[in-house]
């Protein structure tokens, strides 16, 4: 078996260690003997590359870079992305990339940047003087059927931990929220929701990076991608996640969330 990981704009969208998500998926495949290829979906990539990856990973960008990305992600390339995600290709979009999947992003300086409009959400920056939403974040994933599938993989409530740092505030329309904030700001610091879930695409402000400390999400992406590709149920070999468990325990303790079920 093998897996093609599409990495959205590696040099433009990798502000907060987001490369860690790609490394995590790559290693977890290699450790299980699953062949893995990383396909950079950058400006030089053509439409067929976008259309043939099995899982898509995207990270954060600075405003200027985000604008360059949005200028490039147009036409046939945008159509291929839409088709992939609408068709159920799993993806993890962290930091800035959820903004790119939404209707638009209004930066602190400059023009509104249109997104793919795939997720019914909008983002606006309240202005350069407004404080950023910064800090460690924890949320329980509630979007279905994702939450149920993650429980099966992890045998514990799917609580994600990470770090958020965003100036923009995101407001959801009809799209399902990814999770409920336990600690931190989440989408906008107002409504208690974090991220969004559409088809099999996970969108979240949580970086850290997201996957190494939430290995159940990494395994869900791998499993879902393989099941789609090979059209058969896939059971992944268990890996030793004791370092991730210890990192999680330390953070949940710090956030006074250690008493949550499954994290005693």
């Amino acid at each position: 078996m093998d897996l093609k990981i599409g990495w959205l704009y590696p040099t433009l969208m990798s502000t907060y260690g987001d490369r860690g998500n790609v490394i995590c998926l790559q290693r977890r495949c290699q450790w299980r003997g699953i062949g893995v290829e990383i396909v950079p979906l950058d400006r030089e990539a053509d439409v067929s590359q976008v259309a043939t990856v099995d899982v898509i990973v995207g990270g954060g960008a600075q405003d200027r870079q985000q604008e360059i990305v949005m200028r490039d992600l147009q036409g046939a390339k945008a159509a291929a992305m839409r088709e992939q995600l609408a068709g159920g290709t799993p993806g993890a979009f962290t930091c800035g990339s959820p903004q790119l999947l939404g209707h638009y992003y209004e930066p602190a300086l400059g023009q509104r940047i249109d997104g793919l409009g795939l997720l019914d959400l909008t983002t606006r920056h309240p202005g350069i003087a407004a404080p950023r939403c910064i800090g460690n974040v924890a949320f329980e994933i509630v979007a279905e059927p994702l939450a149920t599938e993650l429980r099966q993989l992890w045998n514990e409530p799917p609580i994600a931990i990470g770090f958020e740092n965003h100036g923009g505030r995101t407001y959801l329309g009809k799209v399902a929220p990814l999770g409920k904030v336990l600690a931190g700001y989440g989408n906008n610091g107002e409504d208690g929701w974090e991220g969004a879930f559409y088809s099999n695409a996970i969108a979240t402000y949580a970086h850290g990076p997201l996957l190494p400390k939430n290995p159940f999400i990494a395994d869900w992406l791998i499993q879902t991608a393989l099941q789609r590709k090979y059209q058969q149920p896939i059971t992944l070999t268990k890996l030793d996640d004791s370092l991730a468990q210890q990192a999680r325990k330390a953070m949940l303790q710090r956030l006074n969330l250690a008493s949550l079920p499954g994290n005693a």
Partner: protein, 409 residues
């Protein structure tokens, strides 16, 4: 604190204030420039402890004032935090502003490199013509800044293709044209996004250097310290100090606190290499890798904290290229507030970690307690080798305290 006190103090510095800004290298560069000026007999005020916020500047200046608040100093060399620089410039007029580089650092506090570049441009544009701006031409954001200023601008940088890296590292921020957004063409990269470049679309290119870097030696180790040498040297030379006198100081220079500083503890040699952001850590890893290949070091202690001076976001460790270092094998002791984050980073660095089929497989020792971790690392270090410690800022202070306070002896 009286808000007008800083401009009042500035105005009293006889020969003028020199502000040093940039993500990496402020302390080392300021210390070198201070040493050069002091060698010429000038009285120099310097915020030596790295206290680079407004209060730190005021405290440093007041320390050299008499009871009436009168300053008795010729030069003030002030390290200024990149986010605080515009605030200082609002009502203070320095003689020089030195900008070393703009890398990704502590984005959790400050937002993004582009935003900082924009704020600097706005703040410097308002200054009078008497201020000289000294910039790193190899950094596109800073070259662009200089090309849009009315003031006199001097540029330092490298013109030595022999020092090019083989590839652009991942931890890179500005490889897009600051003028038109097109991806820049690099003839070569010296460090991170510092290099020789031009824009294929508009007429933006690297600013011409005000010196020939090949004619300059350097302090300490690493290309990053060559930049620091050129920056301090260029200002000293512009102040009329002879090259031979500058070169003497460069040749005899000793490291600042935790920056390639060497100590001996329990009969073991230790070298502390402050590693506070991806670019800094890539460079310290580069140095350790070379020593490892020469068989001079097998034990590395890495300490990751997430306190305010370190930046509270530790995701940057995933932008560091740890892979080649781990692949060389040896013992890695990890510690600090975010021990397990660092352990995960190293663990994910190899296709096979445990039982890896390598001549010298890596061993990972995870110890959250700093004192314990340091003792383990010292015990593991053979007598004829040097223990290398790669800490973040607050971890460096704690480790130095342990080492020099003889707490563990």
């Amino acid at each position: 604190m009286q808000p007008r006190i800083l401009p009042l103090l500035f105005a009293q510095v006889r020969q003028g204030a020199i502000l040093v800004a940039g993500t990496n290298g402020k302390t080392t560069t300021a210390l070198l420039l201070r040493t050069i000026l002091a060698e010429q007999g000038w009285r120099v005020t310097h915020n030596a402890t790295g206290a680079n916020l407004i209060n730190g500047l005021i405290t440093a200046l007041l320390a050299d004032a008499n009871g009436l608040g009168n300053l008795r100093t010729d030069y003030a060399i002030l390290e200024v935090d990149e986010n605080v620089l515009p605030l200082v410039l609002r009502d203070c007029q320095p003689r020089y502003i030195l900008a070393l580089n703009l890398f990704r650092d502590q984005l959790d506090r400050y937002g993004e490199v582009d935003t900082i570049g924009y704020r600097w441009r706005e703040a410097i544009a308002r200054l009078p013509d008497a201020t000289t701006v000294v910039l790193n031409a190899d950094d596109p954001t800073l070259s662009f800044l200089g090309q849009n200023l009315r003031q006199r601008v001097l540029y330092f940088g490298l013109n030595e293709p022999d020092l090019y890296l083989e590839a652009i590292p991942h931890a890179v921020d500005s490889i897009y044209c600051p003028s038109c957004g097109q991806r820049l063409n690099y003839q070569g990269v010296y460090l991170s996004h510092l290099g020789d470049y031009s824009c294929p679309q508009c007429d933006f290119q690297k600013s011409p250097l005000s010196l020939n870097s090949a004619e300059w030696g350097q302090i300490l180790i690493g290309v990053y310290n060559k930049y620091n040498t050129l920056a301090a040297g260029l200002i000293a030379h512009d102040l009329g100090i002879e090259r031979s006198r500058i070169d003497t100081v460069v040749a005899n220079f000793r490291a600042a606190f935790g920056r390639a500083e060497e100590l001996t503890v329990q009969g073991k040699k230790i070298r502390i290499l402050l590693s506070k952001n991806p670019v800094g850590m890539n460079e310290t890893i580069r140095a350790v890798q070379e020593l490892k290949q020469q068989g001079k070091t097998s034990v590395v202690l890495m300490a990751l904290n997430d306190r305010i001076p370190d930046g509270t976001d530790v995701s940057w460790i995933w932008d560091v290229d740890t892979e080649p270092l781990v692949a060389l094998g040896g013992t890695f002791v990890v510690t600090g507030d975010r021990t397990y984050d660092l352990a995960l980073r190293l663990n994910y660095s190899l296709e096979q970690f445990a039982g890896a089929n390598l001549p010298n497989p890596p061993t990972l020792i995870v110890e959250p307690d700093l004192t314990e971790a340091l003792q383990i690392a010292l015990n593991k270090t053979p007598v004829d080798e040097t223990l290398h410690i790669l800490p973040t800022y607050s971890a460096m202070l704690d480790l130095r305290h342990l080492l020099t306070g003889r707490k563990i002896l």
